[in-house]
Symmetry: C2
Subunit: 235 residues, 2 copies
């Protein structure tokens, strides 16, 4: 086994270590793990090329630290806490969508979380698994519980999942397909006003089907939808 060189300490208020992290976050979000070079990051942080290896071991160490930190930020916790509101499910869903959509127009750090996620999905790195387990899965589970409650089906029912993906798809497309949208939709400026309208639209668009589905299935009994696996008893 290779001798593991000690990455000395992670004391707080280490100026260059900190500067490397914020520079790396921006550049990784912009170009992805592979296309970003440690020289770009170094000059952006005003540090030497060897600083990355000194403070983080190697490029992947810096990247995983960026991903790790980006998983516990205010933006993500806001979405999670929106899911924990004690309110009517419709209002919770609206809040989740609004909280999430608002992040796409931030002027300071424009949606770095989802930009990194987009790069990970296009070119996975070892960090993707961590990203799915730590944020994706728990968020998805809570969203599935919520939707299941609204349409009267178990959380792991295929219909519940289809609805969740439909909602998520409407949200993420604004981050993933941004250049495409900007190219075909010149009036898309992502001003705060417009972002609010986008969030309202996605909520209206989704709730229309969900509330209709609940009405339909509560009128008759549940039928017609064939799950790909037997739904377990919803906890």
């Amino acid at each position: 086994m290779k001798s593991i060189k000690r990455i000395h300490k992670s004391t707080d208020a280490d100026p260059t270590r900190e500067k490397l992290l914020v520079a790396a976050w921006r550049i990784f979000a912009d170009r992805g793990y592979r296309a970003a070079t440690i020289r770009q990051i170094s000059v952006a942080a005003g540090a030497n090329v060897a600083a990355v290896n000194y403070h983080f071991g190697d490029k992947l160490g810096l990247y995983t630290e960026v991903v790790r930190q980006s998983m516990q930020t205010a933006e993500i916790e806001a979405v999670q806490s929106a899911l924990d509101l004690s309110a009517p499910p419709e209002e919770i869903l609206r809040a989740v969508i609004r909280t999430r959509v608002r992040n796409i127009c931030r002027k300071d750090r424009p949606d770095w979380h989802f930009q990194i996620l987009a790069h990970e999905l296009a070119q996975p790195t070892p960090a993707l698994r961590q990203l799915i387990e730590k944020v994706g899965r728990p968020l998805a589970n809570r969203l599935l519980e919520l939707i299941g409650k609204m349409i009267g089906l178990p959380a792991n029912h295929e219909k519940t999942r289809l609805c969740a993906v439909s909602i998520m798809g409407q949200v993420v497309v604004y981050t993933f397909a941004d250049p495409l949208l900007k190219g075909a939709w010149p009036e898309l400026k992502l001003t705060p006003d417009q972002v609010e309208r986008i969030a309202d639209h996605i909520a209206d668009f989704s709730l229309s089907y969900i509330q209709g589905f609940r009405a339909k299935t509560s009128a008759r009994s549940i039928q017609r939808t064939r799950p790909s696996v037997k739904p377990r008893a919803s906890k």
Copy 2:
């Protein structure tokens, strides 16, 4: 100006040129333009490393040729012709969604078009502009006309665009976020049966709002929606 080396001829039935193209298509779709190397492509095609430069000038020449060819394939024309059907708008929309969604489960060449598009959106190359102008824009325009007709608003009205993005987002998320979905939804196998159910769901999900919107706006007069620009007279 640099002397442009002649890329000799593009005769049909050139075995190595052809083999390079299919190998490049697969590898570019899999890893994106930058991460794919001409050595990988060469060995996959059973050709020499210099063959790429001989037949296509350089790596970007090969890539743009792949993109150019991928823009005029049966899959894309199928979606376009589905938009030209003379049928009720609802049926056209269903057909477009179904035609497009079916491509995500092909066993032979699993959705290379959208995989290349996904890579382009994450890391744009000069081919992205071409991709938007030649395929994205015309497709979007026809889809906007269709949706505008269904909700009774001009094609360039903000509400029309929001609906189009909502529909497109539901579709593309299955390609763009494939690893994420597979990770959080183990039963997602993308069998032909399941793909049909996905297509039906997206159509139902979207038509619920669209038909409700038309009913709502035809009852009262059109109001309440504030366009970001003055809608031009719908041609």
